[in-house]
């Protein structure tokens, strides 16, 4: 455990930082300028990639599971219980339990992150599909649509608000958990946070990396709200 050092002796002056950095002030803009392209920007990029892969794979899996459970009702319980159990495992523990199998790699992180998206996405997609009014489904059949046409042209579009809400929660959750994933795979915005804690609690780096993670989460949330409004114009009046 890193514990509070009795005397703070910074070791990051080698990079040419001024008094601000050697005295570990709250925020040193010079450090940010020098390390933006080398430390912060790559970490931000890795974080975005980690999140996109996890949400992408999670969405495909959850959509398949939800469609299966939509047709075969008995599948809902096992899928629901399985994803809920995955969801309750503390993230740090799940990363460490998977690490022996896949090594300290991005694969380990992605498997755990995908696991956490499943519960949210599965539940939201299935709920969205279930809430399509029976009359609408009957009308689609009455118009001569095949079950497949009805699914893709009527039921899934009507379930879109619930699906987008699930995507929003899942994305924000993954952005949050991906910071913890850096403990295993040293990627993403968690990596500079852990580096800073180990380097005598270097404040500027903590604030930058933490602030970027928070901004990324809020921006992603806003982007998905915007996408939701664009995709479901009929629900806009609410």
């Amino acid at each position: 455990m890193p514990s509070l050092p009795a005397v703070v002796i910074p070791n990051f002056t080698a990079g040419g930082g001024g008094a601000c950095e050697s005295q570990n002030h709250l925020f040193c803009i010079d450090w940010v300028r020098r390390n933006w392209s080398g430390v912060l920007a790559p970490a931000l990029g890795q974080h975005v990639v980690l999140t996109l892969i996890a949400v992408g794979i999670g969405f495909v899996l959850a959509l398949g599971m939800a469609l299966a459970a939509y047709r075969l009702t008995w599948l809902e319980r096992p899928f629901g219980i399985g994803t809920a159990v995955l969801y309750t495992i503390p993230s740090l523990a799940l990363f460490e339990i998977l690490a022996p199998f896949f090594g300290p790699t991005r694969t380990t992180a992605e498997i755990a992150l995908v696991g956490y998206t499943l519960l949210i996405l599965f539940r939201n997609i299935l709920t969205g599909l279930r809430e399509v009014p029976a009359e609408v489904r009957d009308t689609a059949r009455g118009m001569g649509m095949s079950p497949r046409q009805s699914l893709f042209r009527v039921e899934l579009p009507l379930a879109l608000p619930a699906i987008m809400a699930g995507l929003r929660i899942a994305t924000v959750t993954v952005i949050s958990l991906a910071t913890v994933a850096a403990y295993i795979c040293n990627q993403g915005l968690g990596a500079p946070i852990f580096t800073a804690i180990n380097e005598n609690v270097f404040k500027t780096e903590l604030i930058c990396a933490g602030g970027l993670a928070i901004m990324l989460a809020i921006v992603a949330d806003l982007l998905l709200v915007g996408a939701q409004r664009l995709l479901t114009p009929w629900a806009r009046s609410r």
Partner: protein, 238 residues
Amino acid sequence: MNNLIGALHFIGRDGVNQPGEPTLVHLALKHLEIAGAAMLVACLISLPLGVWLGHLRRFSFLAINVANIGRALPELAVIAIGVAVIGLGFWNVLVALVVLAVPPMLTTAYVGVAGVDADVVDAARGMGMRELEILRAVELPLALPIIFAGIRIAAVFVIATATITSLAGYSGTLGDIIANQASYRVSGVLGAAICVAGLALATDGAFALLQRALTPRGLRLDRRRRLPQAGLPVPAPD
């Protein structure tokens, strides 16, 4: 499978591999201590505010959006910024956990009270009840199940999140074992994760009992009454 058996042995040994290590019971109590302190502060902030705003049935924009932004906050990032501003230790962790616990409770308190049937409130006002009486005798009892749903979500969330505080230099929770795979190995990590999950479930159960005890008998008997679930935030894994 071997790891699972190892984990159960680890729990059976009370988490001690070598003499002198802290026991699981000790760590669990410290875990509950920090989580309990954070929940107490968060309740004192969020419940009066949420209930009062709900009673006024105004500022829903504030109450709902605080929760949306709060849900988007990555825990490790909040803790990292807390470490930079406040420093390592109990207070930083407390503040970070409070920041994370307030939004779900604020929203549910608001949604619960604002969602009480307006006709019931009008009837109470027509009977000559004063505003505080309406709040205490009509709105709070009816909103209790939803308010408690928020408290339970926040409590489970805080207990799970307290594990990752070990990564930010606060030692004394069950996260110490989970963050220290090198000496506790996978079986120990898994054992501690099971304990965290057990602690979360037990806390949830304790609040459920408290909720039952506080619910007026007339409402308790009406088992078939379905509670509105809309607007309840989904708990995030830590």
